[in-house]
């Protein structure tokens, strides 16, 4: 995406509803052809961003640039942007073909062309042959496909998807995630997807924006977001995380520090400069923790002692809840070891916990930026 | 667009209230014909109080509206329950019949009631009036209560039964208290419809039980009758005051 051009740009958008400010000076650049996801808890303003782009809401101030032209004053019906609604919003009195062809009819495209383009769009979403069905004769997944076809048939510059998969059941959702990704790649349309589901965001997107309280928290590739969260909100919101609070005790090398975590000294790498005495959070994903039986505890390495509170077998992994002696509770997730099928813990078993150097991620403690 | 909206809403309410205002103002007007304001006076109120036949018709109308609304609210709630909870033969016919009553023009209902009462040899009067009024209010009660029933979590009923409540106990201890809002709303609606009715009352009441529309009809058909203004004002006042008390009671109960 490095050489991609900015297609859509929101500049210093301010938007409030009544006395409630939803967005203040919100800015965002979206590149041409990318699958961009806005991720955040409900009420974080992500849907408002989408509705501003679609033109269903007007910003109080700020610019929305599409191909460098300000479209803030352009009415929704004239924007080269189309939406796939969370509720699908299929017209119940029209057939599938009429639904998909609706936008083209409004644009006074010839009948022959409408027919052809509707057929193409339906082929893309694998619904050829469903032309004459009515929405109520379709399953949830099929409705979803019609809603997508209805939007892509317009060849929009940007396709907006508002929590579009949230109503589908788990399996169907995973399948649609793959298909959406394929459709996006095939058509080369810029997708802006809004969701509160972090798994969905990580699996489909080229880039993800994490939002909270109308503020961007972090923007980056799914990998960056997951492995190097910029602050506690992002760390907490995306997946499970274990937090060790510590103080920087010494600088060992460039960007490598010794951190004292309640008496346990660990070497930790950071991505920015820290001073001795800084308070930091050392973050570890459950799958990055290393657990040993207490008798196998390595002599040359410092770690944490604790006991197993609860364990559960999930098929792929064994998840363990561990109470540390310093009072913290950790969540660990270990891949099932096929060489050692009896590998398991018993409740109250004492264990030793640490991690492989370099798997930790350090952020500065303190209030969220 | 906004101006147009306000204009339209204002126009509709002026249309709906202009006649009412004319009635109320004229009830205090000295002039009999009410075309001009000639001064404030209570004399039509005094006249109404002396008019026994009109007062009787008035009290009959209110009595019927009260009884019909109460009976319709009770019976209609049970009907909604039957249609919602139970399977039985002719259930479809029952809901169709209710639909027919709701959709039928009053004049058609009026003559079906009249033909029935005459065929059965029932003397027209209080009872025929009451039965007819209950019947035409029923579908509105059923629809309102049924809508609320449909919104319920079915587990509520199952939970009550699981805890040992029979059908009647479930109804009395769980459903009825929860249905109270819609039962009360439908009572109010029934009361309103019954009080407003002219057509059905004209057909099913007899000389022994004079009601307001019949009495007023003969008074206003040819001439002008200031007592009617007074009557309308009193009806309005009583209803509005009861509505206010009613809503205050409901609010108190909720909070």
């Amino acid at each position: 995406m490095a050489d991609a051009e900015v297609l859509l740009s929101l500049r210093k958008i301010v938007k409030g509803f009544g006395s409630q400010k939803v967005l203040s000076e919100f800015s965002l650049d979206i590149f041409d052809g990318e699958f961009f996801t806005i991720l955040g808890p409900s009420g974080c303003g992500k849907t408002t961003v989408l509705r501003l782009i679609a033109g269903f809401e007007q910003a109080d101030s700020g610019q929305i640039l599409l191909d460098d032209a300000d479209i803030a004053a352009v009415a929704a019906e004239h924007r080269p942007v189309n939406t796939v609604f969370q509720s699908y919003a299929l017209f119940p009195h029209m057939s599938v073909a009429e639904n998909v062809g609706f936008g083209l009819r409004m644009a006074a495209v010839t009948k022959a062309e409408i027919k052809q383009r509707v057929a193409e769009a339906l082929a893309v979403v694998k619904l050829s042959g469903f032309e004459s069905r009515k929405p109520h004769q379709l399953s949830g997944g099929q409705k979803q496909r019609v809603a997508i076809a209805r939007a892509i048939v317009m060849k929009p510059k940007v396709l907006l998807l508002d929590e579009s998969l949230s109503a589908l059941d788990h399996k169907l959702r995973q399948q649609m995630q793959m298909e959406l990704k394929q459709i996006q790649r095939k058509l080369g349309i810029t997708f802006v997807y809004v969701t509160h589901d972090q798994e969905e965001a990580l699996s489909m997107s080229d880039r993800v924006l994490v939002m909270n309280h109308g503020q961007p928290q972090q923007i980056g590739s799914p990998r960056e977001i997951y492995e190097a969260p910029r602050n506690m909100f992002v760390a907490d919101f995306i997946g499970e995380i274990n937090v060790f609070d510590g103080v920087v005790e010494a600088e060992n090398d460039e960007l490598s520090y010794t951190v004292n975590i309640g008496g346990v000294k660990k070497v930790a790498g950071a991505e920015f400069r820290l001073e001795v005495g800084d308070e930091v959070h050392v973050l570890l994903r459950p799958e990055d923790l290393r657990i040993e039986y207490i008798e196998d505890q390595p002599k040359d390495e410092q770690g944490f002692l604790g006991k197993v509170l609860e364990r559960s077998y999930t098929g792929k992994t064994i998840d363990t809840l561990i109470a540390l002696e310093n009072g913290n509770t950790l969540r660990a997730s270990e891949f099932f070891n096929e060489d050692d099928p009896d590998f398991d813990y018993s409740i109250n078993q004492r264990v030793w916990v640490s991690w492989i150097d370099g798997w930790e991620h350090v952020i500065k403690a303190g209030p969220l930026e | 667009m906004r101006i147009f909206k306000i204009f339209l809403v204002a126009l509709v309410f002026i249309y709906l209230y202009a006649p009412i205002v004319v009635l109320v103002v004229n009830s205090f007007n000295q002039s009999k014909y009410g075309y001009k304001w000639t001064g404030f006076s209570w004399k039509w109120y005094e006249k109404l109080l002396a008019n026994d036949t009109l007062l009787t018709a008035f009290s009959h109308s209110v009595t019927i509206a009260f009884l019909a609304a109460t009976a319709a609210a009770l019976i209609g709630t049970l009907m909604a329950l039957a249609i919602y909870r139970y399977r039985f033969r002719l259930k479809q016919a029952a809901s169709s019949a209710l639909f027919v009553v709701m959709m039928s023009p009053d004049i058609v209902l009026a003559i079906t009631f009249l033909v029935l009462f005459v065929a059965l040899g029932i003397q027209l009067g209080f009872w025929t009036l009451l039965l007819a009024h209950i019947t035409f209010c029923l579908p509105f009660v059923v629809i309102t209560v049924y809508a609320q029933l449909k919104g319920f979590d079915n587990h509520l009923i199952e939970a009550a039964q699981d805890l040992g409540a029979g059908e009647w106990l479930t109804f009395r201890t769980v459903l009825l208290p929860l249905l109270l809002p819609s039962v009360m709303a439908s009572w109010l609606l029934s009361f309103t419809l019954s009080l407003d009715d002219v057509i059905i009352s004209s057909f099913v009441t007899g000389p022994d039980y004079d009601v307001l529309p019949i009495r007023v009809f003969s008074m206003v058909k040819v001439g002008v009758s200031p007592e009617v203004n007074v009557l309308a004002t009193l009806l309005l006042a009583i209803s509005v005051i009861s509505l206010i008390i009613f809503s205050l009671l409901v609010r108190r109960k909720v909070t």
Binding site: F91 | I20, P105, T112
Partner: protein, 294 residues
């Protein structure tokens, strides 16, 4: 406990079902059947309707004098219905868009006039429209016209009266269908490039069609029966079907003829209901999440 419970199920359940079926049989189905029967019987001054069965009642309906009344009242009702629709449609839309409390207040405000009895309100309209009525006093008083305008005892007066009494009944079903019309659908059509007129024609109008038909159904046929409106405001020339039916039942006492007229109304109602069912089937199923078929 269980024994008692079972007894309760039987008795309460039985009671409720019997009450429902019994009441509706006696007060709705039987009377309708009786009216249908009466419409085919022979009029009789003493016993109202007697055997043998005949089509006389229906033949009378077709007599020019009654046929004219029928058509005239059909015409008046149709105009009143259209006026109700023109006022009621945008009004219902505005109402449906209000926040719940404002809507509740407006609905109660629409209901309050009912508490004065529609006959009395119709009489009040007479006071407004009369030669010396409120409107004419204002017009003459301000010098806009020299002579009072004749409004009372005209078709105009009847229509004003019918619209006045029936407008709320038009607004309610329309409001319900506007409430059901999800904002997503209008937004979707906007998103796909439809302008205001196109949105109205292609989306709003078809999806509120059931409300329009229901409203017309609730206004049009009852309007034909409003004899008191015609009596008070229409004078001798502007009779409604209700006047004829009332006259036949309560004055002339030709019950078969009156019944035949009513059956005609019922048949018209059935036809409109059928239309309503079709329209409803057309749009009722939502293309959204709340579809039962999901």
């Amino acid at each position: 406990m269980t024994k008692n419970g079972l007894a309760n199920v039987l008795s309460f359940r039985q009671l409720v079902i019997t009450l429902t079926l019994g009441w509706l049989m006696l007060m709705v189905i039987a009377p309708h059947a009786l009216v249908i029967m009466t419409s085919f019987m022979t009029p009789d001054s003493e016993h109202l309707a007697v055997w043998p069965l005949t089509l006389q009642g229906y033949q009378k309906v077709l007599q020019p004098i009654y046929f004219d009344v029928f058509f005239h009242s059909l015409w008046l009702s149709a105009i009143a219905t259209v006026v109700c629709l023109i006022i009621g449609y945008p009004f219902a839309y505005i109402l449906a868009k209000q926040p719940p409390w404002a809507r509740a207040v407006m609905l109660v405000l629409m209901m309050v006039p009912f508490w004065t009895n529609s006959l009395i309100r119709t009489y009040a309209i007479k006071l407004i429209l009369g030669k010396k009525g409120v409107i004419n006093s204002v017009l003459v008083g301000t010098g806009i016209v020299d002579q009072p305008i004749t409004m009372l005892y005209t078709e105009f007066a009847v229509i004003v009266g019918l619209v006045y009494v029936l407008l709320p009944f038009m607004v309610l079903p329309l409001m319900a269908s506007f409430e059901k019309l999800s904002a997503d659908l209008t937004e979707a059509s906007k998103d796909l490039g439809a302008n205001a007129l196109q949105r109205f024609v292609h989306v709003v109008l078809p999806l509120t069609a059931p409300g329009i038909i229901a409203g017309c159904l609730i206004v049009f046929l009852p309007a034909m029966g409003m004899f008191y409106v015609a009596d008070l405001l229409g004078g001798a020339k502007n009779l409604l079907l209700g006047n004829v039916i009332k006259n036949q039942f309560l004055v002339v006492r030709d019950w078969p003829f009156g019944s035949a007229f009513s059956i005609t109304l019922i048949v018209m109602m059935a036809a409109m209901l059928w239309l309503y069912v079709i329209a409803n089937r057309f749009v009722q199923r939502q293309g959204g999440l709340d579809d039962e078929n999901l």
